[in-house]
């Protein structure tokens, strides 16, 4: 270690109370910023996962023109090929085909318009977690014919229960009215009326027959790590049928994407304010240190220490404070983040049992993210903040008039 570095290191210990307060400020700032970032990431992950498992998926293969029209009558060019391509892609947890139709359900004097979804009964529950909550009867099975599961809200509006037969009517190809009788085999209760009202499912074969349109209208894909969505989309796009397209959850649910972005911006603004407060605190302490040592720094200037060397001394001192602050910030922040990642932040008292957004049920316990990003994040925050904080004191030091060394009284 050079003499200049030793000088900077020992200078930090000169006014131990001031240095400790600066370090504490950096440490607390880092720990808070780390906690906020962890919750921010955890909430993003939660929204993305909930969105995906609420039926949207992380990726979806759709027919050409679907994104502009959002027409449920459109069908994929070669859905079996697309499904196989998606299932073979590493990082894909589940890929499931679906076809949709606008249907009017009727029983007795009750009618309910729904978007009836034809699904693969074996794959669907892994992609759409709500349908696992069958409270009456059972879920669909492969080989079922004219069988239907509905959400509790749909069943209540139809005044129907398991075993009842429902008349399903829709507009088929060429404007023909197509009808069939479907038997309710299961009722699903998610605990959220908005979500329940969106659940009406039959097998893919039944909807092909009812709507008189062959094939699937989409392949919904859930991936293991939602942060890899864009990369997987790029990988899958050339493998699907030529006219079919791959879209991401952000395109499928732009409102959700916007909500996440807004939340991120708010959290980062709060983190930014905290970091600015830390920067001002450290800058103030550093400036006080410079003013205390004005004569000494003037002597160094008189001995030939140039502008950059003097500034460097201040920057090195700030870096030492920043590194110690980062270490203590990690020591404070890691247990908090670990706790939040494992136990979570329980918002049930604020939100009740659950919270729905755009038909998705958001869990009331938000878990923080605990990952390898933590160390670089804390180092960047602590060192970045202290470097910025040291700029003014360094500039002030660099302007030291060396004549002070000779002029000032001993």
């Amino acid at each position: 270690m050079g003499v200049t570095a030793r000088y900077a290191f020992r200078s930090v210990g000169r006014n131990i109370r001031r240095s400790l307060l600066s370090i504490l400020g950096i440490a607390i700032g880092c720990a808070l910023a780390l906690t906020i970032e962890s919750m921010n990431r955890g909430r993003d992950e939660l929204f993305a996962r909930v969105g995906a498992e609420s039926g949207t998926g992380h990726l979806r293969v759709v027919p050409a023109g679907w994104e502009a029209q959002r027409d449920v009558r459109l069908r994929l060019a070669d859905w079996r090929h697309d499904l196989e391509a998606a299932r073979q892609l590493p990082g894909v947890t589940i890929a499931t085909p679906r076809a949709r139709a606008q249907v009017l359900l009727a029983m007795g004097t009750h009618t309910v318009p729904v978007e009836l979804t034809g699904v693969d009964p074996e794959a669907e529950p892994r992609a759409f977690r709500f349908v696992r909550n069958v409270t009456q009867g059972r879920y669909l099975r492969a080989g079922d014919h004219d069988a239907m599961v509905v959400g509790k809200a749909v069943a209540e509006r139809l005044d129907a229960t398991v075993g009842d037969e429902i008349l399903a009517t829709c507009v088929g190809r060429g404007g023909r009215i197509e009808s069939t009788m479907l038997q309710i085999v299961g009722v699903i209760a998610t605990g959220n009326d908005e979500a329940d009202a969106g659940i009406s499912q039959v097998t893919l074969a039944d909807i092909e027959q009812l709507a008189d349109r062959a094939g699937a209208g989409e392949i919904t894909i859930v991936v293991a790590n939602w942060r890899h969505t864009d990369a997987l989309r790029a990988e899958l796009a050339p493998r699907v049928a030529a006219t079919d397209e791959v879209v991401t959850w952000a395109q499928l649910a732009p409102d959700l994407r916007g909500h996440i972005s807004q939340d991120q911006a708010t959290s980062r603004f709060v983190s930014g304010i905290m970091i600015v407060i830390v920067v001002l605190g450290v800058a103030s302490a550093q400036l006080a240190a410079v003013l205390d040592r004005r004569r000494e720094l003037a002597v160094l200037a008189a001995l030939g220490a140039g502008t950059w060397r003097l500034a460097r001394i201040m920057i090195e001192e700030a870096l030492i404070l920043g590194l110690i602050g980062a270490a203590i910030g990690l020591a404070i922040g890691l247990p908090i983040v670990w706790y939040l990642a494992h136990t979570g932040l329980d918002l049930r008292s604020l939100m009740g049992g659950s919270w729905s957004f755009e038909g998705m049920i958001i869990e009331p316990i938000i878990y923080g993210d605990f990952g390898p990003w933590i160390l670089p994040y804390v180092l960047v925050v602590a060192i970045g903040a202290t470097l910025i904080a040291s700029l003014y004191p360094a500039w002030f030091t660099a302007r030291t008039d060396p004549a002070i060394a000779l002029r000032a009284a001993p």
């Binding site: 050079g2 003499v3 200049t4 030793r6 000088y7 020992r10 200078s11 210990g13 000169r14 004569r295 000494e296 002597v299 160094l300 200037a301 008189a302 001995l303 030939g304 220490a305 140039g306 502008t307 060397r309 060396p402 004549a403 060394a405 000779l406 002029r407 009284a409 001993p410």
Partner: protein, 251 residues
């Protein structure tokens, strides 16, 4: 012809303090050759420190020509003046001005590191210089653990370790007792003899003046006398040195 170390021609320096102007130097003419051991004397406020600041490239003259070691100081940039201070000029301050968090050897090393000397070489040079000044047993003590005399010797070591051609000292013995002042002056002369450095030091101390081979007297910002022998100095300038006032020849 030997190149002069210092050449001042009509050097003036004016300070503005609020609405007032203080003319610290009013046209100083001075030449100092290589290896000279010159004392700068004069009453308080006569401009000694101001002249040292100018010669040490710490400040710029308001008027006049100032050439140190062949460089016109008035023309140099801030960076060039800092570089000149680092490589060619050594400073000894009245109040020692050692860095309190560094040991004696580190204080000396600091300047050598600024010069870019490598770790081992600078440590060896710093130790050698401190040993030459009789400080071999206090190398690793911090300034607060040293006596005033030892601190000033460390300050001298710091000034001369890089073997500058010009050493400027502002009242180097002001805070020392008689014995330590004598020791310091002997050591400074010894270093001058060994390394051929040129010394210019301001002082009020009669004991110190007797060591000089040339004494320049400043009064009211002008050179009032410039004598080669201290005993020829006017008595009223530095009491205890020189002939009675009535026999003095003040120029």
């Amino acid at each position: 012809m030997t190149e002069l170390v210092v050449t001042c021609r009509g050097v003036e320096k004016t300070f503005k303090t609020g609405a007032h102007e203080v003319r610290a130097l009013r046209g100083v003419d001075l030449e100092i050759g290589p290896g000279e051991f010159v004392a700068l004397v004069g009453p308080s406020g006569s401009g000694k420190t101001t002249l040292l600041n100018l010669l040490g490239a710490l400040d710029r003259p308001t008027r006049g020509e100032l050439v140190v070691l062949g460089q016109r100081l008035g023309m140099l940039s801030k960076r060039a003046r800092a570089d000149m201070r680092l490589r060619s000029i050594g400073f000894v301050f009245q109040a020692y001005n050692l860095v309190p968090v560094l040991t004696a050897v580190e204080n000396v090393e600091f300047v050598l590191e600024l010069q870019g000397m490598s770790g081992r070489a600078r440590r060896a040079r710093a130790i050698q210089t401190l040993e030459e000044l009789g400080l071999g047993d206090v190398l690793h003590r911090r300034p607060r653990e040293l006596s005033g005399g030892q601190q000033q010797r460390v300050a001298v070591a710091r000034a001369v370790a890089s073997r500058p051609r010009l050493v400027l000292a502002d009242e180097p013995t002001a805070n020392l007792d008689g014995e330590n002042a004598e020791i310091l002056m002997h050591l400074m002369r010894d270093l001058r003899d060994r390394y051929g450095m040129t010394y210019l030091f301001s002082t009020h101390d009669a004991r110190v003046v007797t060591h000089a081979v040339r004494v320049v007297t400043l009064v009211d910002g002008r050179v009032a006398s410039d004598v080669a022998k201290p005993e020829e100095l006017p008595h009223e300038i530095v009491p205890g040195v020189g002939k009675p006032p009535e026999r003095a020849a003040v120029t």
